[in-house]
């Protein structure tokens, strides 16, 4: 009797596990959760704009996949990892969300990616920056789409040296993120034959950069690298203009800058800043067409790379469901790695084994006010950086499940 019931239990368990895998679309609907910062420091560069981009992807896909409807939900994690984790858990356990998209703030990314991995769901990171998301903390069902801090550091560092900016001084935000950014950039600079003259660690967050800018000026380095982000970068650039740093011949390199930051600074202040970006709305006809559609829904703003990345990632995810014939995470993840990414956002992008989507990056310089012909005409593209050159090569991977395979 006892044995029989145990057998029954085991059978039931096996069935319970097997059934979702066989079903085409679990719960008869594909639910996309956009989890990001709707009100805090990152809300302008992702926020509601990312939700709109995801909705556009769903509409362009036809609103249905494998004959089942697609739904979009969204939430604000307020940049608190516990709230993010809470929402993710509840979405998956209670609301049957199949994929979580966007994810700014590395702390939230790490927490949610782990949850998605444990519960076998896909997560598509667009705004999150850290390279560890596809290295030390990689996940077989986690994808990193738009950029990472390694690619930005390497792109800007290498390119600036090639253009003659071979001596550097860093203003570094004094926490893990800033230190990493400085380290990756310094490596790229030295590898390309440049030299790092020094660096100063400023507190985070920091209002007044004048003292640090003076130290940077005294170093006589040709390039001042801003290893910080968001409000810190904005303040540093603004105050550098005030102190006439750029006019005096030094160049500023922003290591993590979004077009929304430039918009907020204004061209007069930001001109001359060199940045690496994963996307620029005014690159070609295709990017312009999509961006103008998005812009019409977002009060005339133009999309950041993070927002455009959300569209591309969602589209690719839906295509992978179509190809796999199911929304089961592992099957979809497999297809996502097989299909190349070809849309307005990326040409011949490929999703690597570690979850990194490798695509070409752009090195851009902020235009002078007199060169800007229409609203949001901000960047002059200096160079296209091939994806394989920009991203951390897979041979240097620290991703545990790839290391095991080796």
């Amino acid at each position: 009797m006892k044995r029989l019931s145990r057998f029954a239990l085991a059978t039931a368990l096996v069935l319970a596990l097997a059934v979702p895998a066989m079903a085409e679309v679990s719960d008869g609907v594909v639910k996309i959760g956009v989890l990001n910062d709707m009100s805090g420091v990152y809300s302008d560069l992702c926020g509601p704009g990312s939700v709109e981009a995801v909705k556009m992807a769903v509409e362009d896909f036809g609103g249905k996949v494998l004959g089942k409807p697609i739904e979009v939900v969204s939430a604000d994690h307020q940049n608190k990892a516990d709230i993010g984790a809470n929402v993710a858990n509840k979405w998956i356990d209670v609301d049957k969300v199949d994929v979580i998209v966007d994810l700014p703030n590395t702390a939230v990314c790490l927490a949610v990616q782990k949850i998605c991995q444990d519960k076998n769901r896909i997560n598509l990171i667009s705004t999150g920056a850290s390279v560890i998301l596809t290295n030390k903390n990689c996940s077989p069902t986690g994808f990193h789409w738009t950029y990472d801090n390694y690619a930005l550091a390497k792109g800007t560092g290498t390119a600036m040296v090639k253009e003659g900016g071979d001596t550097w001084f860093f203003l570094t935000a004094d926490y893990a993120f800033g230190h990493d950014l400085e380290k990756s950039t310094a490596e790229a600079v030295t590898k390309s034959g440049g030299k790092v003259l020094g660096s100063v660690r400023h507190p985070f967050p920091c209002n007044d950069f004048s003292s640090f800018l003076l130290q940077a000026q005294a170093s006589k380095a040709k390039v001042i690298g801003l290893a910080n982000a968001g409000g810190d970068t904005i303040n540093a650039v603004k105050q550098a203009a005030e102190f006439g740093i750029v006019q005096a011949g030094q160049r500023l390199a922003g290591l993590l800058v979004f077009i929304s930051d430039i918009h907020s600074l204004g061209l007069k202040t930001a001109q001359g800043l060199v940045v690496t970006t994963g996307f620029y709305w005014d690159l070609n006809d295709e990017t312009r067409a999509w961006s103008k559609k998005w812009s019409a829904r977002m009060n005339g703003r133009m999309p950041t790379m993070a927002q455009a990345g959300c569209y591309s990632a969602t589209m690719h995810y839906l295509k992978a469901i179509q190809a796999a014939g199911t929304d089961e995470a592992k099957a979809v993840a497999k297809k996502m790695r097989e299909i190349p990414v070809n849309d307005f956002f990326a040409k011949n992008g490929k999703v690597r084994e570690d979850g990194r989507m490798v695509h070409d990056m752009l090195l851009a310089q902020v235009k002078k006010p007199e060169d800007s012909k229409y609203p949001w005409d901000y960047y002059k593209i200096l160079r296209v950086i091939p994806g394989d050159e920009a991203y951390k090569p897979i041979s240097e991977t620290e991703c545990p499940y790839l290391l095991e395979k080796k």
């Binding site: 009100s39 400023h202 507190p203």
Partner: protein
């Protein structure tokens, strides 16, 4: 001698000057706090939000009405001060008979509301306020490049602080104010309308915060969170100085700005915390604060 520690003396002067400029903000803000505390016995947690409001009013005036910096320097403190008067009349007034902590809690709640409203309206990354055309550019002082605008900030804050001090120490109005702080009932008996004096003082203190906001607008990004982090540092400044004297809070403000500036050169890692460390040390040696009366 200075070269021994790796910093040429001229660069050091530059850094000290920069510190003084930041000290100007601490001074104006802690002056307002001290004034309000003196008469109302309320620690105005909304001070940071009102500083932010000052910057935003200036920005709004410029962008929607085309009103320039100089007029904003007068208008913004008036507008924000009037708003402060409204708050005092409608809410703060009801708490005077209670423990002072309730005033702190109320103003904390108000600060959250104001900050939240502006985050909803204008997002977080903030707006840029241009330096007024007359004050763009700067002078090469030999040892550093001094942006004209920063020089103006130091000069103007000194004028404001000294002016306030003169009004309070040397005029009749000021003597009423000081007397009202010591013994409100007696002053009332002399036929002076103390509640109105309290209201106006609050309005003035808030106006000072808004003034600091307008001064800060061209230097920092005008953003909803600009006041929140500032106010905690200013609290520490106030604890160090002790709120007993007007001059004390001004001098402490400038001195701590200077100290912070020097920390940025010698040990930048600690520049965020140095003021708090000083606060701890002062508490150990002179708990009432450098210029405070022992309670």
């Amino acid at each position: 001698m200075f070269e021994l520690i790796g910093i040429p003396p001229q660069a050091l002067f530059g850094q000290m000057l920069l510190g003084l400029i930041n000290g100007a903000f601490y001074a104006v803000l802690s002056l307002g706090l001290a004034l309000i505390f003196g008469l109302l016995n309320v620690i105005n947690f909304t001070h940071g939000a009102q500083y932010m409001l000052g910057a935003y009013v200036a920005w709004l005036l410029l962008n929607f009405l085309g009103i320039n910096y100089w007029l904003a320097l007068i208008l913004a403190p008036v507008v924000v001060g009037a708003f402060g008067i409204l708050l005092e009349r409608l809410m703060l007034r009801k708490l005077y008979h209670l423990d002072h902590l309730y005033g702190l809690l109320l103003t904390f709640g108000l600060a959250l509301i104001i900050e939240g409203v502006f985050r909803n309206l204008y997002g977080i990354s903030g707006q840029s306020y241009p330096v007024p055309p007359v004050l763009t550019g700067g002078y090469n002082l030999g040892f550093m490049f001094l942006p004209l605008y920063r020089g103006w900030v130091v000069f103007f804050s000194l004028v404001v602080c000294l002016g306030t001090w003169l009004v309070i120490e040397k005029t009749k109005l000021g003597s009423y104010l000081r007397a009202g702080t010591e013994n409100p009932t007696l002053v009332q008996a002399f036929g002076i309308n103390v509640p109105r004096m309290i209201t106006l003082t609050y309005g003035f203190g808030v106006g000072l915060a808004a003034l600091a906001g307008v001064l800060a607008a061209p230097i920092y990004q005008v953003k909803p969170t600009m006041g929140a982090d500032m106010i905690i540092v200013v609290f520490a400044v106030v604890v160090i100085g002790g709120m007993g004297s007007i001059m004390g809070s001004v001098v402490t403000g400038f001195m701590l700005g200077l100290l912070e500036g020097l920390t940025k050169v010698f040990y930048p890692e600690a520049s965020n915390t140095v003021i708090f460390v000083v606060m701890a040390v002062v508490l150990l040696i002179k708990p009432a604060g450098l210029f405070g009366k022992a309670s």
